[in-house]
Amino acid sequence: MDLLQRFEAYIASDKKIEPKDWMPDAYRKTLIRQISQHAHSEIVGMLPEGDWISRAPSLKRKAILMAKVQDEAGHGLYLYSACETLGVQRDDTIADLHSGKAKYSSIFNYPTLNWADIGAVGWLVDGAAIMNQVPLCKCSYGPYARAMVRVCKEESFHQRQGFQIMMTMAGGTEEQKEMAQDALNRWWWPSLMMFGPPDDDSPNSAQSMAWNIKRFTNDELRQKFVDLTVPQAELLGLTVPDPDLKWNEETGHYEIGEIDWSEFKRVISGDGPCNKERIETRRKAWDDGAWVREAAVAHSQKQADRRASTDTAAA
């Protein structure tokens, strides 16, 4: 059996591909792109929420938000490591983010204007992310699948804490309820866009499905999210900002209005409300951290030299 046949047999029998296995270049490239962009999304995703750590309304909320942002950092690191098993260098991957060559989830280019947004981000953005990530636990590339199992397990509190913020605000004063509604208004559509373009305009989807990287299409996942989330909004006493939204008794699914894909394309190509600020913040963090990285290397060199001279003295 030649290498390609063996690879295809593995995929056909739903076996995992591991780093040392032969794989087609296009499979490797697709995974590098997807996993690195996923990692970047976790790291850039820390920024909109990080903005509210110092302004959280209570010590409890602050501790929770810190724990969540810490988790996102960890998830970025799991994913960068998984990406490195495909033969890329961490520093190059990060350079691609900073140069704009690599993309990240467009949702993080929207601002968090007030505390209700932190609730909406946890509830909707993490909810959508979980919907995307759960099937990835079964994707065909072993290191990615294993990283996803860990991420999903840790992520399970993220959505709950967001929903709880929304519950508190929706059940609070008139003003608080308005803030919750306003946050839902602003985050609803961008959250639906997180699942990516519609199936008939998603050129890479078919190949990713054939390789068992993707298990469901963009539209399938978006539908699942809508079906699960609309009743949650009702429970909160909030209105989903879609006049065309209706329940279809026959299909057992909600039908939604038209998504503004021109907005999606605009934001993903760099022209969203915060694209520039997000990348500048990441670059600045990298540059400001240069002395720490240099000091760590100098320290390890000093320790190694010291050990070498002790060994010589002992011998």
Partner: protein, 95 residues
């Protein structure tokens, strides 16, 4: 030249594709290739393995048991990292 003590190798076995390599034990061998061959014989006689990693034991830095509380106690009072910390209405089945 006879080398008295061969280096110690820590052995990690992947039991099947899709699972991570797990530490199973250690053995002595003159070099990495011999360690792989010996690990095959010592640890995978009953089809336990799909892949072997050998790592020089001297390359492993371990935390000290004395550091246990310093390292791990801080997680004890962070119950909010667990989903069960958040009460949800009964209507919400999956979250």
């Amino acid at each position: 030249m006879e080398k008295k003590n061969w280096p110690l190798w820590e052995i990690f076995i992947r039991s099947r594709q899709g699972l991570s390599h797990r530490h199973v034990g250690s053995l002595h061998a003159a070099d990495a290739e011999m360690a792989v061959e010996n690990a095959r014989d010592v640890y995978t006689r009953r089809q336990e393995g799909a892949s072997i990693w050998v790592v020089p034991a001297s390359a492993i830095t371990a935390s000290s048991p004395d550091e246990k509380s310093v390292l791990f106690d801080p997680a004890d009072d962070k119950v909010y990292r667990h989903p069960t910390f958040y009460d949800l209405p009964d209507e919400i089945k999956h979250m």
